[in-house]
Symmetry: C2
Subunit: 339 residues, 2 copies
């Protein structure tokens, strides 16, 4: 089934969305919010699945579904942990700055603790405080879990995957070096992220979902031009089960935990850096990766980070060309303090 949270209050109003994303029906009489649904998934998931079936059959009242009415599926969440599962991407970024990558990066997942107290709505602008911050998008896939016990095995972790979403992990690249240099990870350099309008259960993904990876191209566009279409199932060194188990090694994860893949990235056909779309490759899921390739190739990066007025669009289509999660589509807009 497909679920969405329409904008309402702090936690949205849960609706079930049709497979083709054209219609929706209220789920509040079953459970008012997605977080509450995740809190009691075993009880309410079958009821929501029934409602989804009735929606497809046209046997319940429904209304036109508009993606711009959506909040983030979880407008705020208790846990957002983002992996760097496409190690290719990490290696490339380090190569560009002349740093070796320890071999353990291929065997020990890298994950960072993100902030989850407020996600941007999927069609809301990315607030630009200062273009000099080096605003970038990062297109990712993420899963939303049920309760995961401390020490969960990969099998238990896989079984805890409830929903799949897309993410725009907004990053302020020029704040990263100073912040990471302080040794405690990201904070100001990772402001609010965005999730796709719709969250889907793994069964909606059919053969594209193998239990741990999503084997479809992730489409990123910049100002209407395709920027990347790497396959999220390719070059993903750590699958979601592995990322979840890593995150749960010393703690429980609460229902509604969002675990991200990190920027989706595919190697080039020759095993080296991937080519841009213009050069016949699958392109990139963030500007930083293109800049890295430019640095390696030309000695310096030439593509600028996002500017005010730029638009980023992130979506994924099934084999039939149908949008699965709806689209994250965000302008970059100057941040104005509401007074």
């Amino acid at each position: 089934m497909k679920l969405s949270s329409l904008k309402q209050g702090r936690d949205g109003r849960l609706v079930v969305v049709s497979k083709d994303l054209t219609r929706a029906t209220d789920a509040f009489f079953i459970v008012p919010t997605l977080q509450q649904a995740l809190d009691q998934w075993e009880k309410v998931a079958p009821l929501l699945a029934d409602l989804a079936e009735q929606l497809e059959l046209g046997s319940v009242p429904s209304f036109r579904f508009h993606e711009h009415d959506c909040a983030s599926p979880l407008p705020r969440a208790y846990q957002w942990a983002d992996g760097s599962a496409y190690v290719n991407h990490v290696e490339l970024v380090r190569k560009a700055r002349g740093a070796d990558m320890p071999d353990t990066f291929w065997t020990d997942p890298l994950i960072y603790q993100g902030g989850s107290d407020g996600f941007l709505n999927p069609r809301d602008p990315i607030p630009a405080i200062d273009e000099a911050h080096g605003i970038d998008f990062e297109a990712e896939v993420a899963v939303i879990t049920g309760d995961v016990p401390l020490g969960a095995t990969r099998g238990e972790a896989a079984a805890a995957i409830r929903l799949v979403v897309l993410v725009n992990d907004v990053s302020l690249r020029n704040l990263v070096p100073t912040e990471l240099g302080k040794g405690f990870g990201f904070f100001q350099s990772k402001p609010a992220s965005s999730l796709s309008p719709v969250a889907v259960t793994p069964d909606e993904l059919g053969e594209a979902w193998d239990g741990g990876k999503l084997h479809l191209p992730l489409l990123s566009s910049l100002n209407g031009t395709l920027f990347g279409k790497p396959n999220a199932g390719v070059d993903m060194t750590f699958d979601f089960a592995t990322l979840i188990a890593h995150a749960a090694r010393t703690r429980n994860l609460g229902a509604g935990a969002i675990i991200g893949s990190g920027t989706v990235s595919n190697k080039g056909a020759d095993g080296g850096p991937g080519q841009s779309i213009a050069d016949g490759g699958v392109g990139y899921s963030c500007i930083a990766e293109l800049r890295t390739v430019e640095t390696i190739r030309d000695g310096k990066a030439k593509t600028p980070f996002l500017k005010i007025g730029d638009t980023v669009r992130i979506e994924m289509k099934d084999k039939a060309g149908q949008s699965i999660f709806g689209a994250i589509e965000q302008d970059v807009a100057r941040h104005e303090r509401k007074t």
Copy 2:
């Protein structure tokens, strides 16, 4: 007023607690949980304050308050960001490993993004997966905020402080070097933390609260012996308003955000490392700091990290010797998977 969440469901049951922590009264008819109270603070805080006044007068039904019935005031939260405001402590730790500290550490706050999807109850054991992880406590003060807008000034940040709590920021010291070496901050090395049984509004702290710092000794005991009593108002380089404003520089903070001080630490009378309680000093708020002092003084650390069976107690008393927040008191117990 003083608020507590009794163990019930995922988010606890909100009660108002008497100033002397002996009695409590249900607040659920005003608002069921502390998170919901924080979500609509302007509306419900006056009602809760009235109830607190009636509780003191004995004019509402009440029951005996037991700290061991408490969940964390926020059993799960949307944001937990922990500062390192006692820069003295940071300098000391770096000195022990022969690393200089950049001067900017005295002017630019250091903060890490913590995980907030599950806090340990204040009397629950600290789960020991493996003693070799180097289990440590960190006694801290934290504030819980209302909504803080992106770009908030220090004044706005100070005005958003709703509640004050104590924290045991449990740390797995021997997992830290590898994790920080990967460059993305803490994750496995910072498992679930604990908050004090009671959260208090700043006005309950009287003159000890200056709007940004809490000027009272923070008492930590290990196995019944006083380990530290540094004053939380002394040597705090960045006050809470500064920490909150730093955290809100590129993002909104949602109501219920918990912002920690970092391990409370006082310099010695000579401006050098503080002395242990046994040596007549104010001691330390974590074992790592004592080990650091031992390393600087004797060339190697001799005090071990926590072992299974050890008990940590963290509390703070007012000038009259009355416990303000109740006590965090946690055994270290071998983690057993529930099957």
